[in-house]
Symmetry: C2
Subunit: 161 residues, 2 copies
């Protein structure tokens, strides 16, 4: 049961407003997102894949990047993400790397599929072995690739993430 007069709902409405704006202004798909910290929106994002010529410019990725810039950090500890639609696998991965506390979404993956955004295909591909994917993922063993990994392991100056 959704409570309609809560801070959560207020933040979600802003994400939805951004999703509507994206369609109206022709900047990209119907998706918006906001990042909230301590009860305030600190960053927003909307889909601009086709206008920025950036296939990674989904609303969640844009909002995460913007929030990290605001915070001067590569982590979103203590933040919540509100997105107008359930994140695709790319955005889910970005969320796990950014590590916000919680994610709220309005439309779900079935709603998205109904308007032509079939994330299911990517979700299915992820679980396939690399060599069985529709886009072939081919391991090209390279002895030289081991050294940078060893260097990283041995580095005393590295910043882990």
């Amino acid at each position: 049961m959704t409570e309609y007069n809560t801070p959560d709902y207020h933040f979600m409405l802003e994400a939805v407003r951004l999703s509507a704006q994206s369609v109206q202004q022709g900047t990209g798909g119907p998706f918006g997102a906001v990042v909230v910290k301590n009860g305030e929106i600190i960053a927003t994002g909307s889909n601009c894949v086709t206008t920025a010529n950036d296939p990674t410019a989904h609303a969640e990725v844009m909002a995460i990047r913007a929030a990290c810039t605001v915070l001067g950090n590569f982590q979103l500890t203590g933040c919540d993400l509100y997105t107008s639609c359930e994140p695709c696998p790319m955005c889910l991965g970005a969320i796990y790397w950014a590590r916000p506390d919680r994610v709220f979404y309005a439309n779900n993956r079935y709603d998205a599929a109904a308007i032509g955004f079939d994330d299911r295909f990517i979700y299915d591909e992820i679980t396939q072995l690399p060599e069985n994917r529709k886009i072939p993922f081919i391991q090209l063993p390279c002895p030289e690739a081991a050294q940078p990994f060893t260097d990283w392991l041995n580095s005393t100056q590295k910043i882990t993430y």
Copy 2:
């Protein structure tokens, strides 16, 4: 059996060189990537998560973004991606949205886990139901969210991706 005197290997060595440079210069994790079209490297990327304060700044994402800028397109049709390590789920998602023809990788997910990059956790989380994930994904149904989806479906000016 890897052939060591091929264009594929040459491109991979450049991705590996970028991964080594990233550690040496302290710009980020030991990962590099290049995008190739018609036998030429058109864009490169290396991990700069901790210096750019951008959790999405993985080598593959950086290379994909750069290649799309070069091509003035949000698709990498006719391109191959060479990456020094098997892509994480975020990068895999980005690859599916960018749609290159093929992906080549050197180190694999087990090599990455051995130096502290355990993508397995994210791969496992993706297959969980949203409400069962370690980062809670909470659906907040919002009647207002349906309209932008309908607007998108009915738009005659939209650019699909």
